[in-house]
């Protein structure tokens, strides 16, 4: 059954929509297809939002303003494959190093979190857990 309105895009397309610069391009980021976005600065919230009983097969990208390496560690735990830093923020060197080791891609966009979310919502990306 085809899910109406469900959008899948690869990492490069997602970055292009946000005019984001790819900082770490992990192998597979342009073959895996993203279908949901989680936007937050609290890693506790991220863990909570991704903890919805499993069963989902989609891949999520994270939009955040937090740039420390714990963002990558948390993303690793919940299988997030792409992190986009909003407001033109750049990750710390140790964050980049851990992302490379974990196979997680990093990008930075000049857009604000609000605008980034709006763009991705408009193009059909859904919330984690399924709603849009």
């Amino acid at each position: 059954m085809t899910e109406v309105g469900k959008m899948h895009i690869i990492g490069a397309q997602l970055a292009e929509k946000l005019k984001a610069e790819m900082l770490v391009e992990a192998p597979g980021v342009n073959t895996v297809s993203f279908d949901s976005i989680v936007a937050c600065d609290m890693m506790s919230d991220l863990l909570s939002m991704m903890n919805h009983g499993g069963g989902d097969s989609g891949v999520s990208a994270l939009l955040t303003g937090l740039t420390n390496k714990q963002v990558v560690r948390t993303a690793e735990m919940v299988d997030i494959k792409l992190i986009v830093f909003a407001n033109g923020k750049r990750p710390l060197a140790e964050t980049i190093e851990l992302a490379e080791r974990c196979g997680i891609s990093l990008a930075s966009t000049e857009y604000t979190m609000f605008r980034s979310c709006g763009i991705l919502f408009e193009c059909g990306m859904k919330d984690v857990g399924g709603s849009n």
Partner: protein, 152 residues
Amino acid sequence: MSGGSDSEEKIRMQLPIRGGDFSKAGEASSKIKNILKQLGVSPAVIKRVAIACFESEINIVAYANKGQFSVDITTGEIRVLAKDEGPGIECVEMAMMEGFSTAPPELREMGFGAGMGLPNIKKAVDWMKIESQVGVGTELEFKILFGGGENG
């Protein structure tokens, strides 16, 4: 998996966790996650294990002097005992409430300390037990079934 006297195959390991060292926080959970991946456990179950382990590990790093994970993996489940030497939890009932937090500002700056740790662990696991003694430490034990379980 290494054999044992039990009929079920078992992996047993101890993973030390250093209190206060955020540069290493998550390494023990990452190891467990990778072992389960190699064992072919389903991604949805691995995510639940990773969330429960990571929340426990962050709690130990943030609050305790030191701690460790004692992990038992059989063909059907994983059991983790997260034991620490630290200040303990004054009121476990309060700590289990979403949003209740005693986190210091530095922890919040790293994106943690929203008071979701223990409630989040409870949501991810099939069984958990927590015992804490103020001034001594905390023992958190949980189990996740590979067959899906009630939270899977």
